[in-house]
């Protein structure tokens, strides 16, 4: 095998997973730097912004323009959701872990798998090009609500840049679709003998449900994106209402409905919220159980609650639209379903706590990130309950309360798990351990700073501070909150800066890390049977699975773990 086929155009699921991981982490950095730029503007509005300001706005003395800020918030959201969280969960960990955890030698369709990664590249290129398009990039928010996104005259970035954004999104959709077909087929068809559905690790359950969500919801988004492209390029009017007056010119055509986009978009993007969360929950369950040396508490309820999250996830999209102008009666119905979806998430949290209770917690870096995830997810989940209460949404919709909520879920939640999972599965990926000392410094600083950045946003939201404003000092009501904004900004800079520790650890450990054995954590699931890193084809000998993945500290055994492939029987102890 040449270098190209081995490391670039590889159809090996592990290489593809690592490709997804690295490209997502690079985008993570880009998105984080964008957030830092936004925070600069919010703390010291219209002041001389470092680097970006002197590079792009020299004749204004480094003062960025408001549409540049809008572009930053749009691209920050887009990059973080479509290029970081979704690909890193499904693309990186899904690819890497699914065949290993079910005992398969590769994905069901290795070439399709490779394509699914390489279809991300047109998306990357489209987004990069859109920065160079007039207006510095799309500026209609990551939700790209029409008519702002459709009327070229409505916003500087709503021209070519928006078209590129939509095209990029289409490619992301194609990539995800290829991935999810592959995951479903692999999980259903390629499990090792003895690996029944109820012996699957939670990660695999989560990936399966995620893939199903993707497969059913994504076509709707793709259709909507194509409709928006058609509105822009072909002169259709799906989202263009009658008689809109932009500037002073009457928009030709009409008869469309701007709210239609919101319905279609959130029909995908609310399930996408769970696409961004369920795999994290699955991986958290696996790490928690193995590091607590204790069986996962309530395996089946955990599975059922995940399935119900997946099911309910399809009928709650309207809670993004409580005050959108949608018929209020419809809003009332969505409110009830939304309230219900809090329940399975709650059950999962309680089960995690019960898993920890009475365990022997190994406080590795991966485990600490998982514990941090639980704490952050509780905060983000509970503020989500508040948002399900529609009358309260009248007040907090589009305020910083929302920003605090979804950052607690996506950054405090998912991203912590992603980082924790990197620490946990790094030995399997690269055959070396990451530095625990650096890891713990990284965890401590990240955990503290996340809260410094996002917790005060709850208070800003309770004041009614609106999202997506380039300058709060412009208003009368919120100018007094500027000290809070400055504090958040300092914390955000520190948060971005401490990620350097992680970058150093990640790349440094590849070269200098301690060599890892096959099973450095003494964990049960199948990936720890394979060599570290696993060779092409994963397992040297055929596997038979005898029990579930969570048989830790089984009484009467000398070792506190019991690998799924281990044929010996315990006295009268059956796996569930």
């Amino acid at each position: 095998m040449s270098f190209l086929t081995k490391y670039v155009f590889s159809s090996d699921h592990k290489v593809i997973g690592i490709q997804f991981l690295i490209s997502s982490l690079i985008w993570f950095l880009v998105g984080g730097l964008m957030a830092a730029a936004m925070r600069w503007q919010l703390a010291w509005p219209w002041s001389d912004m470092p680097i970006l300001g002197s590079w792009l706005f020299e004749s204004e003395g480094g003062q960025i323009s408001p549409e540049y800020y809008t572009m930053l918030l749009t691209m920050h959201g887009t990059v973080m959701v479509f290029f970081v969280v979704i690909p890193i969960l499904a693309g990186a960990f899904g690819n890497f872990l699914i065949p290993l955890m079910i005992g398969a030698d590769d994905m069901a369709f290795p070439k399709l798998n490779m394509l699914s990664y390489w279809f991300m590249w047109p998306a990357f290129i489209c987004l990069l090009l859109s920065f160079a398009a007039p207006g510095f990039g799309p500026a209609a928010g990551w939700t790209s609500y029409p008519p702002l996104a459709v009327f070229e005259k409505a916003a500087p970035g709503s021209g070519l840049a928006q078209t590129l954004w939509l095209t990029g999104l289409t490619f992301v959709g194609i990539s995800s679709m290829m991935g999810s077909i592959n995951y479903i087929t692999t999980i259903v068809q390629m499990r090792a003998p003895g690996m029944t559905f109820f012996r699957l690790p939670m990660t695999i359950w989560a990936m399966l449900i995620t893939a199903i969500l993707q497969a059913f919801a994504l076509p709707v988004l793709t259709a909507a994106v194509l409709m928006q492209i058609a509105d822009r390029l072909l002169g259709t009017c799906f989202f263009i209402p009658e008689g809109a007056l932009v500037g002073d010119s009457l928009v030709q055509g009409g008869g469309g409905q701007a709210l239609l986009w919101q319905h279609l978009f959130w029909f995908y993007s609310h399930p996408a919220v769970y696409i961004m969360l369920l795999p994290a929950m699955g991986m958290a369950s696996d790490i928690l159980s193995s590091m607590a040396r204790k069986p996962l508490f309530g395996y089946r309820p955990m599975v059922y609650s995940m399935v119900s999250i997946g099911g309910l996830g399809f009928i709650v999209w309207g809670h993004h639209m409580f005050v959108s102008g949608m018929q209020p009666l419809v809003g009332a119905a969505f409110m009830l379903t939304t309230i219900l979806i809090a329940l399975p998430s709650g059950i999962k949290t309680f089960n995690w706590l019960a898993t920890l209770w009475g365990g022997r917690l190994q406080l590795t870096t991966g485990m600490l990130f998982c514990l941090g995830f639980i704490a952050m997810f509780v905060i983000g989940g509970l503020s989500g309950v508040l948002m399900a209460v529609a009358p309260v949404t009248i007040f907090i919709h589009d305020t910083y309360y929302i920003v605090a909520h979804f950052h607690y879920v996506l950054f405090g939640g998912t991203s912590l798990i992603v980082i924790g999972s990197i620490y946990h599965w790094y030995p399997k990926m690269f055959g070396r351990m990451m530095s625990e000392t650096l890891g713990k410094i990284h965890f401590f600083t990240t955990f503290v700073l996340i809260n410094c950045v996002f917790f005060p946003m709850h208070f800003l939201g309770a004041q009614g501070l609106p999202r997506r404003y380039a300058d709060f000092t412009h208003t009368d009501s919120f100018a007094h909150l500027q000290p809070v904004n400055e504090f958040i900004t300092y914390s955000a800079f520190a948060l971005v800066a401490v990620q350097v520790v992680f970058i150093l650890n990640f790349f440094g450990s590849m070269l200098f890390g301690r060599k890892a054995g096959n099973n450095p954590w003494n964990a049960n699931s199948l990936e720890w049977v394979a060599a570290s890193p696993p060779p092409h084809g994963n397992f040297t000998s055929p596997l038979v699975v005898y029990r579930g993945p969570y048989e830790y500290s089984v009484p009467g055994r000398t070792s506190d773990y019991w690998m799924q492939t281990d044929p010996e029987e315990a006295d009268g102890q059956a796996s569930h």
């Binding site: 408001p66 204790k294 508490f297 102008g325 706590l353 190994q362 009358p391 809260n451």
Partner: protein, 286 residues
């Protein structure tokens, strides 16, 4: 004893999480010279929305209790069950499930959530579905909109009915970014958008309604406190989103509202002139 350190770190989550909330709600104290007073809900001048504030507090209390319990348990678990040299001989317990426990923590949250779901319906209906009523000629009927507010990039055009007394005709009096409403009476506004999505929001009155081009919405509120309020846009509407704000003055009903485009000619509109009959606010019940 690194695990103690982590346990203390995690115990800060419930302590600071709830503590800061309490400080903000109580509105006392300061951090680094920044007063915590006024970090909670801004003062509400809209009697229809007191229930919103009430719900906001109620959900926060419920969530605060859950937050306190779960994160305290988490911190305790780390304190008690972390592996360290003193626990060499203590094995982890082998517990796979416990039906009773699981039923308890399914049913109780479910009950609370279902209660919340139904409890809020009336508040939602009052704020978004049941327009205030007034008595006209012995008949109770919904209050008619007193003005039309049209969002555009980047400002709010306020139209008062012209001499013909109707909204949406050519003789409407237009003034940009300046709305005047009477105090102590239900006010209904027609809100629309001209170009892209906007959101008509007045934080001090808990009013928020997205406006969509091609659609018409009604918002209603009552201002009990005379003064000036800020109308904001809360849906991304382009580069000038942050500067799209207007002023709403609440004045005594007897004072004439002067819609002033210039000193030269101004339209004088009597707020509530068409609703001189006593106003009765009633919720529509089945």
């Amino acid at each position: 004893m690194m695990h103690r350190f982590w346990a203390i770190l995690f115990s800060l989550v419930p302590v600071l999480g709830i503590g800061l909330y309490v400080l903000a709600v109580v509105g006392k104290g300061s951090i680094g010279g920044f007063s915590l007073a006024g970090l909670w809900l801004p003062e509400n001048a809209n009697p229809y929305a007191t229930t919103i504030d009430h719900l906001f507090d109620l959900v926060h209390i419920i969530c605060g209790v859950v937050l306190g319990i779960t994160t305290s348990v988490l911190a305790y678990v780390i304190w008690r069950y972390a592996d360290h040299s003193g626990r060499k001989n203590e094995a982890a317990q082998y517990v796979t499930h416990n039906a009773l426990l699981e039923w308890i923590w399914t049913v109780i949250p479910a009950a609370i959530l279902v209660f919340l779901g139904f409890y809020q319906l009336q508040v939602w209906a009052d704020n978004k579905m049941n327009r205030p009523l007034e008595i006209v000629d012995g008949q109770s009927q919904a209050v008619e909109p007193m003005a039309l507010v049209v969002g555009k990039q980047f400002g709010w055009d306020v139209y008062y009915p012209g001499p013909d007394g109707r909204l949406g005709t050519a003789d409407d009096q237009r003034i940009e970014n300046d709305l005047t409403v009477p105090v102590g009476q239900p006010v209904v506004l027609r809100v629309e958008a001209q170009d892209v999505l906007h959101s008509f929001a007045i934080p001090g009155l808990r009013v928020k309604q997205d406006v969509v081009p091609g659609m018409t919405q009604l918002v209603w509120f009552q201002v009990d406190k005379p003064g000036t309020y800020e109308i904001l846009c809360m849906e991304l509407c382009g580069w000038g989103h942050y500067k799209m704000r207007a002023r709403m003055k609440a004045v005594a009903p007897s004072a004439p509202v002067v819609a002033q485009t210039a000193p030269a000619d101004s339209a004088i509109i009597e707020p509530g002139a068409s609703t001189t009959t006593p106003v009765v606010v009633e919720e529509v019940q089945d």
